[in-house]
Symmetry: D2
Subunit: 454 residues, 4 copies
């Protein structure tokens, strides 16, 4: 596409959207406005960015819609900087060719469009894959997104999709959207910090964008901005520790997993739909869902079905549904392999108290790799962060920063065993279970004894 | 209730909730924790604070849940200040009696608990009243909120409700929660400013709380903090102008009103429920809803039904539903009585283009009274803001502040006529309507001509 | 100067300076870097932006140096916006001609370079005029600023000076730097708010800059940004009321005025320089100062002389010096003409207590005109703020905004009578004066009685 | 002192001071107000917190006065929290005894009162010691600070001083004011971040104060707040790297050191005071200064003398003075021991160009220990940061935090060799030196060649 066409594609007048993180989102191209106006993109308003985290940080009710706009805005700023300071003048100079701007912006805007209701949880239970679906939404001719993109060029949708699945030949664009320091991560850290009200996620975005530069094989950072990059890595590390791994949010996730697991069991045994049929979910129980079925689902539909199921005839489902709607998260204990026998004992006590372990306990873990240098033989090799020294040489970040070295390459893993809250609250426990009082007391006290051993 | 009992009611250890506006919400009493844990209060997580405003300011996805916690926290800070600086030592001294703290805190927390899905819109169509329902939720023995409150004392729920409906004899508590400068308004201005990302709603909360003091008949403000109060009034004025009255949000409201109006018509003509029955809404169509029916509804249920109706057999409903889900607000023009004939002409053109005026146009207005002095003979006399001079005399705010005087007593009213967006976009209009091309062009151009006259 | 030359004048690489208000100041031209490096500009580091205000708001220690950089940065952003969105293509189209950028930037940077130590106070006592001196510094061939500017073109200094004294024919540049909503005021409001720690001065700079546009006779604002402009006017009004007029800062100003008045008296009577001669001030006592004498003076020199005078043989000077260095402001009472006889009585009591009225009391006033429409026959007619309606017509701001109308054209004047603090503190008063105890008590109590009458 | 006396010492009404970092400083005791009003404390207004840093970060013009108020406010908040949550009920319970509040507050307020003009630089040249002088100001009966403190009790000044020199038996108070995470460091990090406009120094003060608790031997932190403590350590580390070690500020320090070194030489050779005698500095040249001499000096006096010396007859002094006043920092290169021979070569070139090495070059280093565990045998053993586990056991911070472990115990040292700027700027160099052109070029190019080798 030549620059004249791009000119033609511009809006007569820039449109702005207020955003608390970037102040304004600036929309200059018709295609961007039209993509935002599609049903597939508007659907992101109905999907929370952080799933169950708002049960712990109640301000975190922001959607994937605002995040997607934020990734777009950061990408646009990167393009503006590259165009102003590192404009390519020949195809081999390793600088920025602004004819790639439009594909970069579209990929940035659309990178999350395949996310589903309560994404990871839903994916685990129903074996969907949001990245694959993002690709489908972009390339399937039935979607409005595809139709808007195709107006540029029939091959344009496939090019946008190739950025998102990392197969595009231009690594500058790929790394802008997806790397260890990309527009996606930078937006979500700032945004999640803003809406949760924590400070951990803050770093100096303006500075990072100023020292970012394109080179032949991707993106690097001037060494005089190295500390801002370091600060970003540390912020990210802390957000995982403090917000994303929070045990109470994960306790709510656990309830949702168990609840959907129970639904599926009931569906398979024809006990789910007796009074009420959750039509929009059935294709997923059946494993026959279409792209349109997928796009009909969102957080709010699931929540509505739960309201119907508050009085379902299956007591296990009822119990779990009410725990979820009324925010009664499973409690948990952090454990190590070597403590498996203790977990076994806790499980036995829970079963003895009359609970079905399959639907009231869960072993689960959270995992993050804060930063990693490039290991060509690794399973999923990461693009490492390159620092450009004043003499033009590149050096990998953790070689330069002792702080980053300290956390690089080390997975943060948090294994937890989840169980009902009443096992830590005597009054609730006594009121809830069906045994004799003395039996109850014995179980409760033994549980407390063991839990102290972790 | 005597202080010893209150002591007994405290949590062993203060619990905190992160909040981006007040940093932390501090929970010290068991009863407050238990109220937050009730299903009726948790339901507020599923009701947006600003309804359709997030279609214009996409960050504004915050719920009435966080707002209610914020009003609670401000009220608590007021009580702390009053207890520290203006502690009553005899029943007639007009100072603060801290035995009222608990009732104040409960009223603050619960003041919005009766809000329904998309509140004003829903109320208009189905003739519900969120203030009355708040009272019912507090006093009806079937709710968990009532049960938690009754543990303090069987009369306690009624006392809490009397704060909210302004009939409580102690005007200090009433004005804390509900007056022209109360914990409710102060929280929502700051919160809405934060989540929309605008600066208009900012004012110096710390300063206002420091100069607030109780007196015999209510609450006053030391004159050395008068400018902070003035700033609050101006901020409120600007938030109404800039955010709450925003034409695009109101265009989305218009779609929702017309859509529910159409649903009701279809229900009355037995055409709504053919494929799918919106069970949770039917009691409202029938006019026979119970308190539990009311509590089952939230923004998300409505949104889910709309997804079902995307392919409803009624084309008018379909059209409106898709406008709402995909954010296609009605456009509008601001008008004055004297321009009714122009509105009439616009309406005729819309009808001529094949639209049913009843479901595709709307006259509507927004209204606010930024501040008012007390007019004892007015319909709804307002409690005026009192400034306490150094000599102890009280003076009404607008007598002291020329800025406030300028806007006091003047209603801000914004009358608008709403119509489909395609009447301003030639391409969409040509694609949409069913007439001959020349007819379309004639209608469209005449419409543009008239709209210029406003 | 043609664009090629400008290109030539650019730095190889943009230089940035951290600034808490604008995040970064971006320096792109060699001439700007060189101007910042001159002694005359560096001297602004030694002159506080707000004079004695830091005695009341201790964070407000910022200098005219950072303010000047801020005005430069805002002006640069305005030029960038104008160049991008309103680029002139013919000399008569009323749009922005970017060949004016350099003169605009230089004028912005240098507009305050003639400010002296404790500016207004010094000017009153020694009859200097900082605006005239700014012009001299720019046009006098002995200054380095002049030499740097002359490298562009021998006529360039005069052109820069003509922006600052408003005689330049291009009103767009003049109004950018100097009007009722200019880069100067916008920077100082935000900056003073930041460093004092108050919120009053905050407004939405980004929004205002986005809606600013050039037209034939100056600068206007798009009507969709009218509320941001309104907010700026209100912020400015509140900063005057809350910060700039603060009685304690003005009480410190009063001490400084009386102290310099006493110095001058002593100098004229050859009693000032007996032990120590304040060389850098003497040209001002003599009325024979040169431009270089003026540039040698700053806040810090004055402060150093005061330290020398702590033990001066004149008791009046000693007393005043210690009040200033140790922050003991004169107290004051606000009064109206009609209360002149009460002021007279207070004065008599102060004299009776042994104070020389000429050096221990002061009548003074602060005055501001928050906003005014254009009055062609006024003494100093103001350029009014123009709002550009969607149809392209201009309307004066206060016609559009009821808030601004409320404060437009009304001078805020605050007349005060200043006197020593001990007249309000019994212990200090009793310790200080030389009379019999009963006499002292009589004077003190009569003073308190009268002061209550204001 | 018993609580009744404390009550007696309170102000009738709390006084507040606006502060941009803590919003308000709250002053409740007469003694605190009176200490702030002393000349010794007011003098801190005339001493910059960060010395020459404002030459690099121009917003950083804040004084030790505001920092001292900030340390006071943080200490007060700690006392409030301890009093509310950890009140001692017997002398052996290791909890907080609030009768220590006053001594803690006074020590917090006064901990920096002995700081002199450009402190470290001045100390190096004139062999003064600000910590010792702080003690003298507090305990010497001629100071007003001593007189105010003595009103409480004749032994009170000595008790306050013993907090500051760490000899007080109560380690809780000592650690509040002086440890690896104390009110002093917490205030300066936040304050320096605010005034420089960087984000590095930000951390969650509210959270840290909430998890701080007293125990028998000092102060610990609840483990659920460990990450906030970790964030503070990282912030501190980054402020040192980014702000405190900034080469340009250190280049200005170098100028000042060399300049004072030259002054001292000239004084010893009776060439300094020919035209003008810097009276307030002479006691320091003579080594005979009194406490009052020390208190008469501040940043501003030094700056004033420099203005006098702009035209001093000694060309070396002139040159250095103008470099300082007009912000022309020495440039520098970072080096390692092993590169001493390269430094030697640079020095020879500088000498060859006609510069006196003693006054135009400097080897200097910056050093910081970001955090350290306790090493009882170390020279200056540090109090380590203790984390209190849920079971009540204490664990040293770096054992719990991999991030902190990464930087603990490792000194950050930055050795630099400073030299005049013209050695990096061809034009300036050619204009400045006195040699033949070809000689100049040879020296300059050889210098560039060597500097590339570092």
């Amino acid at each position: 596409m030549n620059p004249t066409n791009i000119e033609f594609l511009n809006l007569n007048r820039e449109k702005v959207i207020r955003d608390p993180v970037h102040n304004y989102i600036h929309i200059r191209q018709k295609i961007i406005r039209n993509l935002i106006d599609t049903p597939e993109f508007q659907r992101l308003r109905r999907i929370k960015q952080l799933g169950t985290t708002s049960f712990t940080f109640p301000g975190a009710e922001h959607s994937r819609f605002t995040h997607s706009l934020g990734v777009f805005e950061i990408t646009q700023t990167i393009c503006d900087n590259f165009e102003q300071n590192y404009k390519s003048s020949s195809s081999q100079d390793g600088l920025w060719d602004d004819s790639n701007r439009l594909v970069a912006l579209c990929a940035a805007l659309l990178h999350d469009v395949g996310h589903g209701a309560f994404s990871h949880i839903f994916e685990d239970i129903f074996h969907t894959d949001h990245e694959k679906i993002t690709g489908q939404i972009i390339t399937d001719p039935t979607t409005q997104i595809n139709q808007v993109l195709s107006e540029i060029d029939p091959k344009f949708p496939a090019e946008v999709a190739s950025i998102i699945d990392h197969t595009h030949p231009n690594q500058q664009i790929v790394q802008m959207i997806s790397s260890q320091i990309d527009a996606d991560r930078m937006d979500y850290l700032l945004r999640d910090a803003y809406f949760t009200g924590t400070d951990y996620g803050l770093f100096d975005l303006t500075r990072i964008l100023r020292v970012m530069l394109p080179y032949e094989d991707g993106i690097a950072f001037l060494s005089n901005g190295m500390h801002a990059v370091e600060d970003y890595i540390v912020s990210r590390f802390q957000m995982y520790q403090q917000v994303y791994f929070h045990p109470a949010s994960r306790g709510m996730e656990a309830v949702l997993i168990l609840l959907l697991r129970r639904c599926q069991y009931l569906y398979q045994h024809e006990q789910l739909t007796k009074d009420f049929s959750p039509e929009l979910l059935i294709p997923f129980f059946e494993g026959t869902f279409t792209l349109q079925d997928y796009l009909n689902l969102d957080d709010q539909v699931i929540s509505t079905y739960l309201i119907y199921w508050r009085s379902h005839s299956d007591p296990i489902l009822c119990d779990l549904v009410n725990r979820f709607l009324d925010r009664n998260p499973l409690k948990s204990v952090q454990y190590h392999h070597s403590q498996n026998d203790l977990i076994q004992k806790l499980s036995e006590l829970i079963e003895e108290a009359g609970y079905n372990l399959k639907y009231f306990t869960l072993k689960n873990f959270s995992k993050d790799l804060p930063y990693d240098a490039y290991h060509p033989n690794a399973k999923n090799p990461q693009t490492q962060i390159e620092i450009m020294l004043p003499n033009g040489n590149l050096k990998e970040l953790s070689e330069q920063s002792p702080l980053v070295k300290a956390i690089a390459g080390k997975f943060q893993i948090d294994h937890r065993f989840f169980f009902p809250r009443e096992f830590l609250r005597r009054d609730e426990f006594m009121a809830k279970t069906n045994l004799t009082n003395s039996k109850k007391i014995a179980i409760f006290e033994e549980f407390q004894r063991i839990i102290q051993l972790f």
